[in-house]
Assembly symmetry: C3
Homo-oligomer: 326 residues x 3
Amino acid sequence: MSQTFYYNQGPLKILDILKTLNLKDNSFSEDIKVFDIKDLFSANTSDISFFHSKKYQGIAQKTKASFCITTQNLKNELPKNCKALIVENVLVSTAKITALFYPNAINDNFDETVLNISETEFNNKVKFGKNVLIGKNVSIGSNCSIGHNTIIEKNVSLGENCSIGSNTIIRNSLIKDNVKILDNCVIGKHGFGFFPMKNSNLRYPHIGIVIIEDNCEIGCGATIDRGSMSNTIIGKNTYLDNQIHIAHNVNIGENSIIAGQVGIAGSSIIGKNVRIGGQAGISGHLKIGDNVDIAGGSGVIKDIPNNTKVMGYPAKNIREFLRENK
Amino acid sequence: MSQTFYYNQGPLKILDILKTLNLKDNSFSEDIKVFDIKDLFSANTSDISFFHSKKYQGIAQKTKASFCITTQNLKNELPKNCKALIVENVLVSTAKITALFYPNAINDNFDETVLNISETEFNNKVKFGKNVLIGKNVSIGSNCSIGHNTIIEKNVSLGENCSIGSNTIIRNSLIKDNVKILDNCVIGKHGFGFFPMKNSNLRYPHIGIVIIEDNCEIGCGATIDRGSMSNTIIGKNTYLDNQIHIAHNVNIGENSIIAGQVGIAGSSIIGKNVRIGGQAGISGHLKIGDNVDIAGGSGVIKDIPNNTKVMGYPAKNIREFLRENK
Amino acid sequence: MSQTFYYNQGPLKILDILKTLNLKDNSFSEDIKVFDIKDLFSANTSDISFFHSKKYQGIAQKTKASFCITTQNLKNELPKNCKALIVENVLVSTAKITALFYPNAINDNFDETVLNISETEFNNKVKFGKNVLIGKNVSIGSNCSIGHNTIIEKNVSLGENCSIGSNTIIRNSLIKDNVKILDNCVIGKHGFGFFPMKNSNLRYPHIGIVIIEDNCEIGCGATIDRGSMSNTIIGKNTYLDNQIHIAHNVNIGENSIIAGQVGIAGSSIIGKNVRIGGQAGISGHLKIGDNVDIAGGSGVIKDIPNNTKVMGYPAKNIREFLRENK
């Protein structure tokens, strides 16, 4: 969880948290304050956490959090020093409380803090095109270039020797050295994450960022969404072709090559030295091993072990697929 | 057929219409004027209509239109008070006459009417970024925000509490309340509709609009084309992820969720509470029922009844697909 | 190979070429100069060429090049007057030498030569929107229009009656008459061509261009990459729908129709009168004949003869596919 870029409104009064959850509990002192919301493992005694599935039972039993949003069924797994706040839907309630701590991580309206780059400290440090805009909390390394009409919105760090194309928008991102991002990209927007609700869905905050490691290249028209509770990561020297969509929390290893129009759904982990052909799609929450080849057009719906070549929809061993589809 | 936004050049002289169709008919008085072109059902006695397929026989027999573009084979179905104009290709001829009435619905060149928003009535009413342009016939409700470099071209109505991202272009669209449209979208451009002709295709007019109902969210890089003779509609509280293409005349019901890189071809009707996984494609002129789940990567080529889960290409019952593809 | 648009740094000293290839050879005179790098067939006595595969044996035996980058195994095929430069990886070495001659064909940073169109010779000749930028070596025919925020970067020729949308970027392209390019396109950027290397891939130069013939239409959000050693060509009166990706060196024939979100991988040749349905993908280095129909969603992985209809992944005869997938 990378909260560097989001302003934490905490500490919050526990009574305000209870109120947001529509809970009444007179056993709390008015003075109690909560400093942050974190997962069960990361939370400290000053924090609130959340526990929504039995599969996290082991971590729940050891959490240091003083408060935990959970259900009637799960509450007995929590240690004694962790007070359970019983709700009907843990994830919805967690979204509401995260939004209390990080209100700016929900609203992805345009960045009002931007100035024309010529009005900023970067005027003499960066090679830039016409109409380049720079938001607050931006740092830019030496020898970078930024193309026309590009907007580096707030909370962006660019390393050295980076080349950003034209008409591109970046926010909430940590871009390392020698990275090339081509034209018409949108990097660091919130992901497609919300709780479906009749008439008006409930968006949850995205407090992660996008991290693009050294020597990467991102093709034209890419969308790379930032993480919700973790980060979206593109590993060192990984190249993305045009029109690729990388959803929130995806983690791609180093030295991978991803061809045009590929889509990777949320929270999937892709190994290193992976090659993905054009238009292939990878479902969410999967683990793709190292040195994997995924043929163009494939649809991957389950984990793939290291050193495997797959093809088809659903993707299977490439030899098997080709034998069956002569 | 929504013609609110297109300037009707009518009434036109019937003799000019005949000339455009290369028809000679001395039985018409020079004085006769035609006010509009409409479908067989909507046309009034002052209008011209078109009739190109036997399946519209029932409506044709009752049309009030005074003139109808049709073929030798079909003309006898028309009522006595409707004069048949016999042509070889009804749809091509209809395109030509519609273009006479609505010349601005063919040409989708950039909007020359735009002004910088600071020069318009919206200067103090709307929160806006740098370099925002606003065309003629635009209305914007209270509490809206419009991002940098975004162009609201002519014929757009934005409701209240809308948030439009940066680098987005909108024209010929009716956007209702609490709608969020993210960055790099193009909304309301004409669809991919034309008659293939050797050496130079013939575009037909798109006189429909895009309607986006309350509480929708449209992801980055979306293209939503306006309708040709009807409208393209996104129902209430429907969310679209990044890089989605919605073709002309598509109608999506409320509370639907559509993941990244999905494409929906022209004139398909999607029900409410429909979920479509990433990269799925839906062919044109289909009817997808309510509460349908379409797995990511599927290719849908036939209608799908309510309450069905499908997967595969061609998409079929999901259990059947998974059983066959273990 | 179209080198019109790229400034050739030649003649170069042969000693500098040897140094770049880490070769030591004392048999060369310091005075020898090399004027250009060309393929075996096109090279003249003043040029260097490259020979990496036995299948070019016939052409190699007749090359006029005075120097040729090749391997120990292949060198004996070269004529006596062609001096072999022995390397381990011919293509990597060729990339390095091409980069020496054409350094500007590797670096696709934003075009620093642009001016606002109102400061150029086109101010009174072209209809243009706000914030239009024009680079060096651009020509524009009569009766063209260019939309807002569009950047015509260096090395672009626009014919007569062309309409370019808004937020579009074009470079290194030859656009003929009556061509329409819609919004948010990127035309003429280098392709996804590089040699994978651990930690830092090696890009090879793209010295081809994009050629778009008369009467074409390119939909919103297209990316059309320029060629590497040859050109990327869109034939006369071919129409592309939205969100299409055309990779480098692709050649599409005339009167073809390509629906939304299609992707065509590098170096494939598509015939004339071809129809490709939405989201179909075509692998690289294939030959698709004339009058071919490819159903939406298909994945084409082998050549397709003239007058064929295919469907599926891998794409096969459409009747066969539909029979097997009832």
